[in-house]
Amino acid sequence: MLHKDSHQANLHIPDEELVRSADGELSPQRTTEVDTHLKACWDCRARMEEFQSTITGFVRDHHAEFDGQLPPGDGPRALLRARLAEWSDQSTTGWWKRVFHFGVPQMAVVGLSLIAIVTGISWFRQASQKPSYVLFDEEAAPNRSLTPGATRQVALSEVCSVPREEVIGNVPGALRQRVLLEYGISNARPEDYEIDYLIAPRLGGTEDIRNLWPEPYRTRVWNAHVKDALEQRLHEMVCSGQLDLSTAQHDIATDWIAAYKKYFHTDQPLVSHSSIGAATVLELGRVISSPV
């Protein structure tokens, strides 16, 4: 501890105060006292310089260890911007505000009307005794919390030099099992599921569990062939400069079916992209267009 008394000049400043002084974490008064002492005491000054030197060395090594790994920020920046925009679009704040501005009596009327409509539809479906069809395959899209997508830092030139690859069956067995377990699927036969990349490698996707999901072969409409067509389309658009790579990655990772509709300007898979054949598509088309 520092003492002003010159007879106690041998009582040096503790290490902790030296470090706090170097870090500007002492009170102004104590900082002045320490500075005064350092001017007079070579021993404390030497220890202070030792701390300063260690700090300098540590910070230099800390940066050297990690800075070489830091990729350019353009891609992550674009991805974040897209995610923020998406979140803003999906935000229900404005919707709720409008609802509350509507007023309680009006809300009650709307609520009762909704209940009546839902009840009516339910009754009509039961009365008509028609089979219910699943228009969109439930398992065609991955669970976003388990499979948000994962990409690597990749140059556009590299992306555009990658040929159209066959990815089916490339996932190692152990990783395949992990993906299936993650989705709670046990005792699956190899012919039941394809472990598919959400963001294809040719779009910068990686062989990471967060980029893989079990895509059932039994899905009929939005199946792997349709997704392959979307990947090819996005790859072409990216490489021809029509689309930013990060946007392509974002769109396919967020909702590949919506991305297909967006980039092919259609609500249903094109016949040429689906393996189920034109007749089946027509059949499904009739189902889709028929009243529920």
Binding site: F58, D61, E65
Partner: protein, 194 residues
């Protein structure tokens, strides 16, 4: 340490925006603010996340989540005090969570009887440690031998956080931060002097 690190204007963000202004802020202005903070803090947060032993890809994902959380935080009109400390705290928690997930995942993989290296010792041997020390710098190798909380304190300080911010991130008292940093620096200095 402090002299080398320029303070951020988010460091002492006790300049609290009135709540009425916050509530009326449009998402676009908040988006802009978040992007500005992303530009300022991406590298420090990435380095800190990488210090948990994450891959660069995992660290990037952590950073994305951090700024999405920041966006929601600001969007809900929550406190703007010490946003830099808030960012590092969220990054700390997410990086820790990711590391635990990775460890659990690697344990599951290690449990696969088909893996030949099932019984391999995951810890690097002395020779590997020496190579790592030579590559990364001697002080970093010594720092890695410190208790984990001391390492976090050091790295957060190296990223420019003040003691009170470090205390917030790690849930420690100011005094504990001070003691931890002094202990670590003294140990590094001794090792460096040998």
């Amino acid at each position: 340490m402090g002299a080398e690190l320029p303070p951020s204007h988010y460091e002492n963000a006790s300049i609290v925006v009135p709540s009425t202004v916050r509530r009326s802020a449009q998402p676009s202005s908040i988006e802009q603010e978040v992007m500005e903070m992303f530009d300022e803090f991406r590298h420090p947060l990435l380095r800190y996340s990488l210090s948990f032993g994450l891959t660069i890809h995992d660290a990037e994902e952590v950073i994305q989540e951090v700024f999405m959380a920041l966006f929601r935080h600001l969007h809900l009109g929550r406190s703007r005090r010490n946003l830099r400390g808030w960012l590092f705290r969220v990054a700390h928690n997410l990086a820790l969570k990711q590391r635990i997930a990775n460890q659990a995942s690697s344990q599951r993989t290690a449990g696969d009887a088909s893996l030949a290296d099932e019984h391999a010792d995951p810890a690097p041997g002395p020779e590997e440690q020496l190579t790592a020390a030579q590559r990364r710098g001697f002080l970093q190798a010594v720092a890695r031998a410190l208790p984990e909380n001391d390492q976090h304190c050091l790295r957060l300080r190296a990223e420019g956080l003040r003691y009170r911010e470090i205390a917030t991130v790690l849930g420690m008292s100011l005094g504990a931060v001070s003691v931890s940093l002094t202990r670590s620096l003294a140990r590094l200095a001794r090792a460096d002097g040998r």
